[in-house]
Symmetry: C2
Subunit: 332 residues, 2 copies
C-alpha cells in the first residue's frame, strides 16, 4: 500500500453541514524518519464537537483549518516503527483525524490494551466521551445518593455513561432521548429509572412524571426546549453540567426562558471542555475501563463502513440518527 | 404614643405592583413582657427581593403572607426595655418590616454603632445589600487584579458596592445603569472606569467599547437585554454571579439567547441568596464598615418620608426611579 485516503474540510458550512463541505484525497504513505511510527487507523470517532470546530467563530478552540485533514480521535495499529517504544502490532489511540493512516513520533499517543475491552471502546466509554461523562458528573454535578440526575442525548456516547455512573452513585437516573427505541434501550438495557421521549410531544408533562422529586443534577448535551424544560424542574442548589448544545449547532440557537430558576433555585451552571481537564484522565479512564471490563458499563455503537462514509455519518450524528457511539470503521 | 402604623400586604400583584396591594393599619403599642424590648424604627429598607416575596410561586423563600406586616429590614432605637441586654437609646438593626415600631426578645437583632457611620448605612453598604455585593464578588466571581468586572444596576445599593470593591481588587470596573445622570455618578463619584447607559439605545456597541478586553466577571442584578449582551462579551472561564433579575420581576421574563457562550467560554454561573451565607457576614460587614468609616466606599440614598410613602417608593424602585439605596424614613 503506497497511498492512503484522507478527508479534508473543503468549505465551512452555511447552515447545515453538507457532503460538499468535505473532500476526499489520496496521498502517498510517507517514509518514516527515525523516531516515527506509522499507524493504520481502525476506527475514527465522530463527535458533536466537530460541528463547532468547522465554524470560523469565537469558540473554545481554533477553528478546523480549511484544506487540512478533519480533526478527530482514532484508534489503530502500528504497522511500521522507527521508534524503540513501539513495534508493529501495538494498538494506539491518537488524533490522526479523518485519515486511514497517521504518522507520529509517539508524543500524545495512548497505548491500548485490547485484552480486556475492544479497541473501539477506547473511542467511547473508555475514551473522550466516557471522560466527558465522568468529569461532568463527578466534578461538576457531584451527585449524592438519592438525588435525581437528568441527562439529555441519553442513548449517546456521553449520556449513556452519565446515567449508568449516576446509578452506581445511588441516584435516580432519568434520560431524555428521541423516539421509543432509544428510550426503551436507555431504560431496559442501560438501567436508567426512566427516559423521556422528547419527540412524543409532551416534554414538560413527561419530564414532570419522570422526575417526581425534581431535578438535582442536569447533564446537558443538547440544549433547545429540553434544557428549558429541565430548568423548570430544578431543585434548590441544583447543579448543571453544560457539555454540549447539539440542538443549536445546526439549527436555531438555544433560547432559555426559565432563567429565573437559576436565581430562585440558587443553581450552579458550568460549561466545560474535557480536554482542559487532563489531570483527571488517568483516574477516570482507569475507573471506566474497569467498569467496562467487569460488564458494569454498557454501550452501543453505530458503525459506518469506510472513510468515504464519514461525512454522511457526521451529518446523521448532528441530527440524532446515530444510536450510541458513532464510529467509522476504516479497515475491511 | 399609644398606637403606631404598619402596612400589610392586602393582595398579591397581578402584573405590576400597585398601591392597592397594600393596606395601612393603626395598631396599639403592645405592653412588653419580661425580656422584650420596644424599638422605634427610624428607617425601613426597600429592596427588589420584596417583589418576588409578594408572589405565591415557587421561589427561594415562603411567600409574604397576606394581611401580615410586609417584610423588610429596619434600623431603629430602643425606646423601652425589659431586657437587661438593651437600654433605651440603643440602636439596633432588625427585620420589623413596614412598621413604625417593633417588639423583640433581642434574638436576631444587630447592635449598631453610629459613632463611625450613619444609622441608615446599616441598611445599605454596611448591611444586606453590601453583604450581597461582597459575597457575590468575592465568593462567586473571585476577581483577580487586571480583570474586567461588569455590574448592572451600578448606581444601586448592591451594584455601587460591587464596582468599588472591584476597583479595590485592582480590576477594571464597568457599570450598566439607566440614564446619563446615574452613569456620570457611577464614573465620577464612585470611580468606576466606565458606565454604559442602557437607555441610550446602543447597548451592545457601548458595552463593547467599555469592555475592550472582554468581561471576566459579571455581577447580574437586572436580567433582560443587558444580561444577554454581557454574555456575548464573556471571556473564557468567566464567572457570573446571578443576584437579581429585577427587569423580569414586573415585566417580561428574561430570555437568554447567547446560551452558547456558557459552553464555548466555559463559564460558571451561580445564583445565590445572601441570607443563606450567614457565615460570611461577620467578616464581610467588618470590612464594609471599615471601608465606609475610612471614606473608601461611597454610597447614595433615595429617602422617602413616612411609612405611608413606602408603597410608591417600592414601585419606583422596581422601575429604576430610585438613585442609590432606597429607604423610607419613619421619624420626622
Amino acid at each position: 500500500m503506497s497511498t492512503y485516503q484522507q478527508i479534508v474540510l473543503a468549505s465551512r458550512p452555511q447552515g447545515h453541514v453538507s457532503p460538499g463541505n468535505f473532500r476526499l484525497e489520496r496521498v502517498p504513505v510517507p517514509v518514516l524518519q527515525n523516531g516515527q511510527i506509522l499507524v493504520r487507523n481502525h476506527y475514527l470517532s465522530l463527535d458533536p464537537y466537530m460541528r463547532m470546530r468547522m465554524e470560523d467563530t469565537k469558540s473554545y478552540a481554533a477553528p478546523q483549518e480549511l484544506n487540512a485533514v478533519m480533526i478527530g480521535g482514532t484508534v489503530g495499529e502500528v504497522v511500521e516503527s522507527k521508534n524503540p517504544r513501539y513495534k508493529p502490532g501495538d494498538f494506539v489511540g491518537g488524533g490522526f483525524g479523518w485519515s486511514e493512516m497517521g504518522v507520529s513520533d509517539g508524543v500524545g499517543l495512548r497505548r491500548l490494551d485490547t485484552s480486556r475491552i475492544p479497541l473501539s471502546a477506547y473511542l467511547g466509554a473508555a475514551g473522550m466521551p466516557g471522560m466527558t461523562a465522568w468529569y461532568g458528573l463527578n466534578q461538576v454535578i457531584a451527585p449524592k445518593a438519592g438525588e435525581t440526575i437528568v441527562v439529555s442525548a441519553a442513548s449517546g456516547a456521553v449520556g449513556s455513561v452519565v446515567g449508568q455512573l449516576a446509578k452506581l452513585h445511588g441516584c435516580r437516573a432519568v434520560g431524555i432521548a428521541g423516539g421509543p427505541e432509544k428510550c426503551n434501550y436507555v431504560v431496559n438495557e442501560l438501567g436508567f429509572d426512566a427516559c423521556v421521549d422528547y419527540k412524543a410531544g409532551n416534554l414538560a408533562d413527561d419530564l414532570k412524571a419522570a422526575t417526581p422529586d425534581g431535578i438535582d443534577g442536569l447533564y446537558e448535551n443538547v440544549g433547545g426546549e429540553g434544557f428549558d424544560a429541565c430548568l423548570a424542574r430544578m431543585n434548590p442548589f441544583g447543579r448543571i453540567a453544560l457539555c454540549g448544545l447539539i440542538a443549536a449547532y445546526e439549527d436555531e440557537p438555544t433560547v432559555l426562558k426559565n432563567v429565573r430558576m437559576l436565581l430562585t433555585m440558587r443553581l450552579t451552571l458550568r460549561g466545560f471542555i474535557i480536554s482542559e481537564h487532563m489531570e483527571f484522565w488517568p483516574q477516570g479512564l482507569a475507573e471506566l475501563t474497569g467498569l467496562l471490563a467487569d460488564g458494569k458499563l454498557k454501550y452501543r455503537e453505530s458503525i459506518s463502513q469506510g472513510l468515504r462514509s464519514a461525512p454522511e455519518a457526521l451529518i446523521g450524528l448532528l441530527h440524532g440518527k446515530n444510536f450510541g457511539k458513532q464510529l467509522v470503521r476504516l479497515i475491511d
